[in-house]
């Protein structure tokens, strides 16, 4: 079980939690597990084609998964995934 940190804009979709647990062997599986437990996150994370939306950044611990293996990046027990959309408030 990995820990997924939920950004403020998605918290309403996961019952207000700041972090939730999700299972999977890799980043894609963990995020799809999150989306199946919390269906309201599906459209916010994934495009209609099942790709990760381009405006969502995902980090495995502190590293951007884009410079790792993307959605295929292996996730271990105890790893933390950070979902991070841009914010523009000033």
């Amino acid at each position: 079980m990995a820990t997924v940190k939920i950004p403020p804009v998605l918290r309403a979709s996961v019952g207000g939690e700041k972090e939730v647990g999700a299972s999977g062997e890799n980043v894609g599986e963990v995020l799809r597990d999150l989306a199946s437990s919390h269906p309201a996150t599906q459209d916010q994370l994934f495009s209609a084609e099942g790709e990760l939306n381009r405006y969502v950044n995902v980090y495995l611990n502190d590293e951007d998964v884009r410079v790792l293996n993307g959605l295929d990046t292996a996730v271990g027990e105890g790893d933390t995934l950070v979902i991070l959309p841009a914010m523009a408030g000033g």
């Binding site: 403020p8 700041k18 381009r54 405006y55 980090y59 991070l84 959309p85 841009a86 523009a88």
Partner: protein
């Protein structure tokens, strides 16, 4: 019998290594640390180019800030070679410096030989008093304070983030502060926008900000831009500034600023806030990633709420704005490790500050290209730009 002063000096000189000014002259600019141990008033009248000032009275407490490596070569000098001899012995015997030498004849002989002397621009008596706590910090000193006084910083927005940033940069003595904001002060701003005041509701934010800045530090030259930044005016406004502080409240302007600042190679200290959360990073064009490397495109409007619509904890922009001000000062002084290639995430409720890595995107539509290749009509444009702006209203 105790030795006379002259005998003591002879004894000390016999215990240390000395170096002739001719050799020191060869070493200027070669990476050898040269330390002036005279008083700061003497230092201000002229010193060896690149020398660091560590008055002998503060030698033991301050030497490590200019010479952290005890095995590195170190040359000390004073006016005539006496104080630097005593200082050299202290560093060698008491602090374990291995390669310290004292320059014979001091700066008097140096000048007699006709070698170059650097005269630091001086601060006025009032400035010395006002900035005295900066002058005491070896990493800043008169030289650093002068850099701050010479610096030109542009603040995009005199709102939540811009308020504390502007106040502290003004207090720190940043010489020119440009402020871009087209809004008037509103009562609902005052829960967090501390540069404004209840008496100034209804007046333009740029005027209100200028009044507060001048009340704090009349030295600061405030340049007001009472306008909304857009593709037609951005290049003209930002050109010539050393650092830009991004505290704007919308995505189109953030992308526009990114693209224009990459083209002009101006570093941007960027922060954003929402609710109880803040983000901060420094985008230094071509040395680190740019805003587009981090966020390839903005989220759709429903996932991009504004503080106006969703609220923000009043103290949060204070925290984030001062982190921005700190990064600005570091960039100007060229000290420390700016948050380049890192995104800092502050969670006020959890009281945590974490960070993630940000990499340059080799396919970045903007910073993977040379500045001259970035065309006017590309600035601030992203996929679905029209739809985004229409949805955002």
């Amino acid at each position: 019998m105790s030795p006379s002063g002259a005998e003591l000096l002879r004894q000390v000189k016999s215990q240390i290594e000395e170096v002739d000014p001719s050799e020191v002259n060869e070493l200027v600019g070669e990476g050898v640390t040269i330390v002036d141990v005279r008083g700061s008033e003497e230092f201000a009248t002229g010193h060896i180019p690149g020398a660091k000032s560590v008055p002998r009275g503060h030698l033991e407490t301050r030497i490590e800030s200019v010479a952290p490596d005890r095995s590195a070569e170190l040359i000390l000098y004073c006016a005539s070679g006496a104080r630097s001899a005593y200082a050299a012995r202290t560093l060698q015997e008491d602090l374990g410096y291995e390669r310290v030498r004292s320059m014979t004849g001091g700066i008097t002989l140096w000048k007699d030989r006709g070698y170059e002397v650097e005269v630091p621009r001086s601060l006025s008596a009032e400035q010395r008093e006002r900035y005295s706590r900066h002058l005491l910090i070896p990493e800043i000193g008169v030289e650093g304070q002068q850099k701050l006084l010479d610096a030109k910083v542009l603040l995009l927005g005199a709102g939540g983030l811009g308020s504390p940033t502007a106040l502290y940069l003004a207090a720190a003595g940043v010489g020119t502060l440009g402020i871009v904001d087209d809004d008037d002060v509103d009562l609902s701003n005052l829960q967090r926008q501390v540069i404004h005041s209840t008496q100034r509701i209804g007046i333009p934010k740029v005027d209100s900000a200028e009044e507060s800045i001048h009340a704090l530090n009349p030295d600061v030259n405030v340049v007001k831009y009472q306008t909304r930044i857009d593709a037609s005016n951005i290049m003209e406004i930002i050109e010539g500034y050393d650092v830009i502080v991004d505290g704007v409240d919308n995505f189109p302007t953030r992308y526009l600023l990114n693209d224009a600042s990459v083209r002009l190679k101006i570093p941007v200290v960027s922060a954003s806030i929402l609710g109880f959360d803040g983000q901060l990073s420094v985008f230094k064009p071509y040395e680190g990633p740019c805003y587009r490397c981090l966020f390839r495109e903005p989220p759709p409007a429903e996932l991009a709420p504004s503080c106006g619509a969703n609220g923000v904890l009043g103290v949060l922009p204070g925290t984030m704005g001062l982190l921005q001000a700190t990064e600005v000062v570091k960039l100007i002084l060229e000290i420390g490790e700016p948050a380049i290639g890192r995104l800092l995430l502050y969670d006020a409720l959890g009281a945590t500050l974490t960070e993630v890595k940000v990499h340059r995107d080799p396919d970045c539509p903007i910073c993977s290209r040379e500045p001259a290749e970035i065309r006017d009509e590309e600035l601030g444009v992203f996929p679905d730009y029209e739809a985004f702006c229409a949805a955002a209203g």
